[in-house]
Structures are given as C-alpha cells and as structure tokens.
Symmetry: C2
Subunit: 375 residues, 2 copies
C-alpha cells in the first residue's frame, strides 16, 4: 500500500541501471544479483508488485545475461506495465509450481550472489536449498553503494523533495504549537508534505519537552507548552525520491542553556557538513560532528550516528558512522543530523540532506538553522 | 506506516502465546524461534516497531528460557510500551554494536531455528554468519500452523471483521456503478471499510468487464459500463484481525452465459465450504471446489488456489491448495474463493472466510452469494 511512484524514467534508463548493477556485481566477484520487491527493484525496474507476499517475485541479474523477472502468473499483467518491463524478460510461475527451481535454472549453481537486504528469509532459505553450492551476501554488504551515487536526473528529484520539505518547515513554523498535542502538529506536517507534492510520508516526528530526549519518539498526546523545545523531523517520498529534515524550535523564549545546547548542535552540524568532500571517509563526517559535541562536554548525549543515505528510500547506505571507511563520491546523498538528548529534559537535532559535489557538500535543505521561536 | 493495532490482549495472553510457541518449536525439534517485526511479532508480543529498518529487532524464543526481545536502543521506549512487554526481557543495542553476536549469545550455537518468513535476508545472513553451526527454517515451513488456530477471543475479532466487510458489501451494492471508473468504487470500498471499523485496508479490488479476468487486477481508470460483470474483493484489518470477501455483481441484466458461469462458481464455493470439517486435508477443500468447475468444463480458467489462511494478516497459512495434506483443525480461519477467469471477457469470484468448528465450517461472511444486480 505504500506509494509506488512514477519517477520520470524510461526502459532505457532502467536497462542502463540493470547493466551497471550486473557489471558492478561481476567486478565484486559475484555471480549475480537477486533483487526482491522494494527499493532495489523499484530503482532497477520501476516495478512495485501489488502486494509483497509469500509468492516469489525476484529480479535475477547476471553479467552477460538478459535480466529476468520471476513473477507470480497472477501478477504478470502488473509487471508488464512497469516502466522497465521492456528491458527485461518476464518468467511467470503458477501456484503449485516451484519458482526456486526455476530461478536456480537461470544461475551458476555454485556462485556467490548479492541479495536484497529486505528479501524475505522464506525466499532466501528456499534459494539456499535449491542451490546448495551457492552462497549469498546482502546487497548492503556486497554492493553497499549500488544505489548511493545519484545521476543528474535523480539529483534533480532529490533537490525537489528537499525543497518541498523546506516549504513544509516554512509553513509549520507559523502554526500554533502551545496548547496543542504533538499529534496535531504531526498531522499538519503530514498534510503540508503532501500538499508540497509528497506521495508518501514516512515520518512526522514532533517531540516536545522531555519527549525530545528520545530520538525516535514520533508524536503523541503530550500537549505542547510554552517553554518547550520541540524537535521536528519529517520526510517521505516525492516523485519517488526522499526528503528528510529536522529543525528544533522553541515555544517562546529559550533559556540560556537551551540556546547553548542548540548552538552546539548547530556548530556540530556545520562541522559535519564541512567534512563532506570527495574522498573523505563516511566516518569523517561523523567524527567532525561528534568532536564538536564532545568538546562541549555533551559527548555521552549524542547517542546515534550522524547520518544515513537517502534516495528511493529515506534510509539507506551510506551511513555516516565510526568505522565506515568508504569514501564519499560525488552524487551521494545523505543526512547530516547530530543531536544532543538530555534524558527527562529536552533534545535538539538539526538535519539537512547533503549531496557530495566535486567541490564539497551541497545542502538540499536550506531553511534557517538558527533556533526558531514559535508560538 | 501500516496499522499496528491495539487488540484487546494482555501481557498474560502474550506470555501464554510465547510459551506455547516455544513449546511447539521444541516439539518440532527446533532449538528456538527467531521472530521478526511483522505479524508473528505482533501476535506474540503486541509490538510493532515504529519502522522496519536495517536495525535488528528480533524476538528470541527458546523452550525453558525467558523470551528476549533484541531491540535498537533508540526504539527501546517504544518496545517498553507494547502490551506484551511485561512478559519478556528487553535487550537493547546501540549503533556500532553487533546485535547478531548478542543474539547468538542467547542461543544454542548448533541448533536449528525457525525464523519469520518476512525476516530480512540481511539479518538471516548475519545470523548464519554469527552462528555457523546453526541452521534455519522459515516459520511457514517449520511451524506453518503456529498462528493458524484461533482462540475464542480471536474468533470473536475475526467474526467482527467479517461482519464489517459484509456491512460494506450491503452498502456498496447500492452505489452507482455504471459510468464511474473502477477507482471511484474502490475509494467507496475503502471509505466504507474504515467507517465499519477497519483501521487498515489491504485491498479494494474492483475488476470490471475484461479486467475481471485478471484475478489480481486492483482498480483502474476503466469506466464501468452497463453489461459488465464486476468482481469486488476487499478487506483489511479491524482491531488487528483480518477480513476478506469477494462478490461478483452485474451491472444490469446478465446474459445466460454470465449467469451460468456465476452459478458454477457459486456451486464450487458451496462445495469447497462443505468440504470443511476437522480432519479433512486442506487440499480437500481445493479439490471439492475445483471438481465442480472442472466438471462444468471451465477447469483451465480456475487459475489460482482455492484459499488462504487469515488472522493478524489477510494472507497466511493454511493454504487450500493441491498438495497441502495438513488437516483442518477447529479454530482455523481461511478463505474459500474459487473463480473462473475468461481472458478478454470477464471473471467471477465468490469468497467467504470460513472457520472450522467441530461440526464443519462456519461462514464469517454471510451476504447473498446469488448474482447481485447493480446499477
């Protein structure tokens, strides 16, 4: 039921992506890729099945072979209508037949394959059984950067999604906060994101006062009060590409401490952003942001990684986290979102989506990062 | 974003389910169960994570051990609020730590485990690597009937969901069909299901004329015309339990052939229903329905299995399909939904949810199965 989306890509675009993916897989020593319904399949073929069920739908890519989409016969008409359908061969199967054996017939029985992270264990186990000599690695492990580098058309869509999220912030900062439950402001965010073109809203976090100290608090029935810090973190998909931005606002005048904590997070976010340049490691972005917060004495209150990639999902590699040594490459898009979380009191998070250019980072969110006062 | 739901169950109910599941697993020779976010986890704990991501959330059940929920630290507060939280131990992990090693520490390293069908391949592969001596089977393979037999409270919820779907049909048969696109009637179905208490709508199939010959056609922009057969197939979750019913209506007077095909499907549905009794095999239900259609000369046009189980999802074991020899047990709930699909012309499907009682089947959908004429 989540939004499959008509991004403006043609069968030729999908053919090019599938060829590149198969080539990248071969270069990495893989015999092929097994792609399940979800973001990988959408990105490679434009196809979203009507529902994800126990019936196997699987795109099989191997260098030097035509792409094959194994699909339940009942859903073949849907698959035929996908934008990328002309670039692949459909192989449908009917209830009672064994789609795993049919898949195995297409492949090197002793190969190592990359498989979509979110492929069902049900299907992986059946494939392992049908091909006992084969081995598998998750796509995130094997080819983490497969979807990470966006081309020009994708960057345009990412920028449009970011602009729509920014337009949402410009409106939400003017709605009433004090006296309303978080859930009402969250509903405003949902409505605004959709009005600005989002077909899917993934999260509308409104975390007021002590709720702000839980980075994953969504929005509840707490009534926002004057004097509250409020973390806003919202995004979704617009034309199939993701937005995700956070701003922390204050209802009325903040205390000196609140202002100081916000300043530290803002400085950390700036430092993370400045660390973005081709060739830097992902962990450098995390370190740069974390250093600022640690130096200010709040290191133990920054309890998550600094960022995550974004594209046809709002949450994907590359991750800006200690230990991630892969280099940044122009065209990558990810969040830079440090935070400080003071248990029982309040939290602050500031987040922009940043894309890597030859010259450094470019923010796809450009609303004020200074502490905004709301009413 | 799909509806987590507050079914009226207590921590004691969830404790009993987890104990039963662990015992059933041990009886089946399994060292334990690995339960991923989704229907298994909801059924066993009442917990739905705020989002399903690459971060591991996993319920670990093993006979003689307390249930443990491995959960990202960020989501621990959400997990604490789950109805079943009091019946389990939370073990949270922070970004950068290895949750698979932590999971392995809880388990017999050389055991065989059942794992949720929809667990991500990413997680299964990491668990296989962390426990190289272990092996895994999908829960559908290992314990297909784990959630299949509903207790009295669950049957009440199933009956209420069925009644809500029936109320939806009674209203939809009176809306205008001719001259409106399928998608508008589908929107009516969505609205009516929600008005009758559904918190989640899974499908609203409106397949008119030739679209009816594709069993998985959802609803498109085809304008329904006088003379069309229209397959309606709709359902979702109400208080966490599923509805799913199909009726085929006709816009204006049907032809003799249309009436005959509808009669055959109705007779097949009746035969499938009558085959339902404790101890009969699942495949007997399929055979009974299929025989009627084959005898009438339409065997090649009945291109799917006769039914699927339903409970906290609208699509689960047991399956009424040739080759499924497991016996029906009182408390099981599943669809009986034969159909005839004439390519390029029209389709007919009639579907009720049926539950097994000591005395035979009991329909949870009771609207007219005769061909209903709409305008």
């Amino acid at each position: 039921m989540t939004g499959s989306t008509a991004a403006p890509f043609t069968a030729d675009d999908y053919r090019a992506r599938m060829e590149r993916a198969a080539r990248t897989a071969a270069d990495a020593g893989l015999a092929g890729l097994l792609v399940a319904p979800g973001p990988d399949l959408v990105w490679l073929t434009g196809y979203t099945p009507p529902a994800v069920t126990e019936r196997l739908t699987l795109l099989v890519l191997a260098a030097g072979q035509d792409p094959v989409l194994v699909v339940p016969a009942l859903e073949a008409p849907d698959a035929h209508r996908a934008a990328g359908a002309a670039a692949l061969t459909l192989r449908d199967w009917t209830d009672g037949k064994d789609p795993y054996a049919a898949t195995a017939d297409l492949l090197d029985a002793s190969g190592r394959f990359g498989i979509s992270d979110n492929a069902w264990a049900l299907h992986l186990l059946a494939l392992q059984q049908a091909m006992p000599g084969s081995s598998h690695a998750s796509l995130t492990e094997a080819l983490p950067m497969l979807r990470a580098v966006k081309d020009a058309a994708e960057l345009d869509l990412m920028a449009a999604a970011g602009a729509a999220a920014d337009a949402t912030f410009e409106e939400i900062r003017n709605v009433p906060f004090a006296g309303r439950p978080e859930s009402e402001v969250a509903a405003d965010l949902d409505r605004l994101l959709r009005r600005h073109g989002h077909e899917q809203v993934d999260f509308t976090i409104v975390a007021s006062g002590p709720n702000g100290a839980n980075p994953h608090h969504e929005a509840g029935d707490r009534v926002i009060a004057r004097g509250d810090m409020v973390v806003l973190d919202f995004g979704g998909l617009r034309d199939g590409y993701g937005s995700d931005t956070s701003r922390t606002v204050h209802v009325g005048e903040p205390t000196d401490e609140e202002r100081r904590v916000h300043d530290i997070v803002r400085e950390a976010q700036e430092a993370g952003f400045r660390a973005v340049r081709p060739g830097a490691a992902c962990q450098d972005v995390d370190r740069a942001a974390r250093e600022v917060i640690a130096a200010a004495g709040y290191g133990e209150y920054f309890i998550h990684r600094t960022g995550h990639g974004i594209g046809v999902t709002t949450h994907e590699p590359p991750y800006m986290i200690e230990g991630e040594e892969r280099p940044l490459v122009p065209g990558m898009c990810f969040s830079v979102e440090p935070g400080i979380y003071l248990p029982g009191r309040f939290g602050v998070r500031i987040e922009d989506i940043v894309t890597v250019t030859e010259d450094g980072g470019r923010r796809l969110n450009t609303t004020a990062r200074e502490l905004v006062i709301v009413e």
